[in-house]
């Protein structure tokens, strides 16, 4: 899977997935059990396609590169790659790419009766209360974050 940059913003860089290089990795469904080797016949070998595992709706899935550290407690760090599905409905507690007052951000959404909170996962950042004066759009739901070592 290659990534083609399609847009760069100040906080997020967007990429389109390129499926021309789908990589099948062998997947061995026997677990690792030291001392109890399974007979070879019991191995069920499947092929894993990373695209298939991470991308359910390819036509509505976008990638973005993270800049910033407001979500470190959720495991999202500067430089990580987010997989975002725009077709998913916003739900309480989901991590979402939001547009608030014309700017992108990534936060956990908390939906209460009359108010929506955008919660950072970092003690140094205050939750953002979304009031009727704000223009909020949930751009897409973050379904995975990929970190390279």
């Amino acid at each position: 899977m290659k990534l083609r940059p399609i847009h760069q913003g100040p906080l997020l860089e967007f990429y389109a997935p390129d499926y021309s290089t789908a990589i099948d990795l062998p997947y061995i469904d026997a677990g690792l059990r030291a001392g109890f080797p399974s007979p070879a016949d019991d191995f069920i070998e499947l092929r894993i396609d990373i695209n298939k595992e991470y991308i359910k709706n390819r036509d509505t899935t976008f990638f973005a590169r993270v800049k910033g550290n407001s979500m470190v407690n959720a495991g999202i760090f500067d430089g990580d790659l987010l997989i975002i599905d725009k077709s998913l409905e916003p739900q309480n507690n989901k991590i979402a790419v939001c547009q608030i007052d014309g700017a992108f951000t990534v936060k956990r959404i908390k939906i209460e009766q009359d108010v929506v909170w955008l919660i950072a996962e970092n003690e140094n950042y205050q939750p953002i209360k979304v009031t009727p004066e704000n223009e909020l759009m949930i751009w897409g739901i973050v379904t995975a974050s990929i970190k390279k070592f």
């Binding site: 083609r4 021309s20 036509d59 725009k86 700017a103």
Partner: protein, 419 residues
């Protein structure tokens, strides 16, 4: 019933998906060399910026009115277009991608279905999933679907961007509202002529005697009249649009192997390229699609398209096929029985506009080569001279495949793929 689905201000909308601060602001997109305006947001239209406005003449206005100006980013538009079209294809087994931002969908047996709510469902799926706003027009014919779409687009508040022409009253009202020069398929020349005869709207056009229309506008005009009367005369893909040239076919039998489909795609590409040359134009976008048989729901279904931008406008079969084959390889998947494939060339520009870049980038040797190929084919019969990836006959098919790398070898240096 047919639906015409059209993306609203497509290029500007693509920019807005990724730049939320552009919502409600005037946005214009410039042509390849930033020469002139080729797309405008509603706000830019309201400022009186015309289509084709030379950028340098409007520089001051752009600055004064704080217009956001963008160079065309076909990588982005092509990718977003593919997403929209793929989502649309989930709503009907029969779809004709009419241009980068428009598609006709055919609905058989949907006459008693609640099309308005179905249209809203289509709209929700596409707009939520891609961020691109669309308008949907339903009608019994393609020409009327165009009219319905226009109404949906013009009155977004009243129609919520979905409009259905399903009664005589609605049809007549819609046609009376449609200016003759805005009717799909009526060119400027015919529109002027009709206006002189006091035919100013589409309804008046349908009141003309058949004999007159046939005499003055040939069978194409008559077909259009029937369409506007609500009698289906055009099926999907039958009309060749000025904006795009498409060659798409259902296969005689299903194919599951890449080489078989690659041959078909090469042939379709050659046909598109020949049509481009015949009308003296070039294209800078080529779309390839493949799909399984939507009517065989017992078989696994697959349908994809890909839009590839060429670096420079071209009408060379060799260059276009090179792109088409790369695109095909990217979307082809083993394990499906393919029933249909197609090639659509878009972003057409007349030859005169491309002279400079042609010699900059496109291989100038292709020009005389293509001219000779076309001449031979015209004098000795269609497809007497073929390109190596095209079929010469069944027995040659497998050997053809080995020949095809020739295209890549001669053009490795100039190709850049952007989806």
């Amino acid at each position: 019933m047919f639906a015409l689905v059209d993306c609203n201000n497509f290029y500007a909308s693509c920019q807005r998906v990724f730049e939320p601060h552009l919502l409600g602001k005037p946005v214009v997109i410039l042509s390849n060399n930033d020469g002139c305006v080729i797309a405008r947001s509603n706000e830019a239209k309201a400022l009186g910026i015309p289509m084709g406005a030379p950028a340098f003449e409007y520089k001051k206005l752009f600055e004064e009115q704080q217009v956001f100006v963008y160079s065309s980013n076909y990588a982005l538009y092509g990718d977003m277009s593919s997403r929209v079209m793929n989502l649309l294809a989930t709503f009907s087994p029969e779809i004709e991608v009419y241009s980068i931002d428009e598609a006709f969908l055919k609905f058989k047996g949907f006459e008693h279905y609640d099309l308005e709510s179905y249209g809203k469902q289509i709209q929700r799926t596409v707009t939520k999933g891609t961020g691109i706003p669309i308008s949907v027009g339903f009608a019994p014919t393609k020409a009327l679907a165009k009219v319905a779409n226009k109404i949906a687009k013009k009155f977004p508040d009243r129609t919520q961007s979905v409009y259905v022409i399903d009664t005589e009253d609605k049809r007549i009202k819609a046609l009376k509202w449609t200016k003759i020069e805005d009717v799909w398929g009526i060119g400027r020349r015919h529109a002027k002529r009709l206006q002189r005869l006091n035919i100013t709207n589409a309804y008046q056009f349908t009141q003309l005697p058949d004999a007159w229309v046939r005499k003055e506008m040939a069978v194409v005009g008559l077909r259009l009249k029937r369409e506007l009367e609500g009698k289906p005369s055009l099926d999907l893909e039958k009309i060749s649009a000025k904006k795009t040239i498409a060659t798409t076919r259902s296969f005689e039998k299903m194919h599951s192997k890449l080489p078989d489909i690659a041959e078909r795609v090469a042939t379709f590409t050659a046909a598109c390229a020949e049509k481009l040359r015949r009308q003296n134009s070039h294209c800078n976008l080529i779309m390839v699609f493949i799909r399984t048989n939507g009517f065989r729901q017992d078989q696994p279904q697959y349908s994809r398209n890909i839009v590839i931008q060429t670096d420079f406008p071209t009408n060379s079969t060799i260059e276009l096929n090179h792109h088409a084959q790369i695109g095909l390889k990217a979307i082809f998947k083993e394990g499906y029985q393919y029933k249909k494939a197609g090639v659509v060339v878009m972003g057409l520009t007349p030859n005169a506009h491309t002279q400079l870049s042609l010699f900059d980038a496109s291989n100038p040797k292709h020009l005389p080569l293509m001219a000779v190929v076309d001449k031979l084919n015209r004098s000795y019969g269609i497809n007497k001279v073929k390109f190596a990836s095209q079929s010469l006959g069944r027995q040659w098919k497998m050997r053809q495949e080995k020949l095809s790398p020739r295209y890549t070898t001669s053009f490795a240096e100039i190709i850049q793929i952007k989806l």
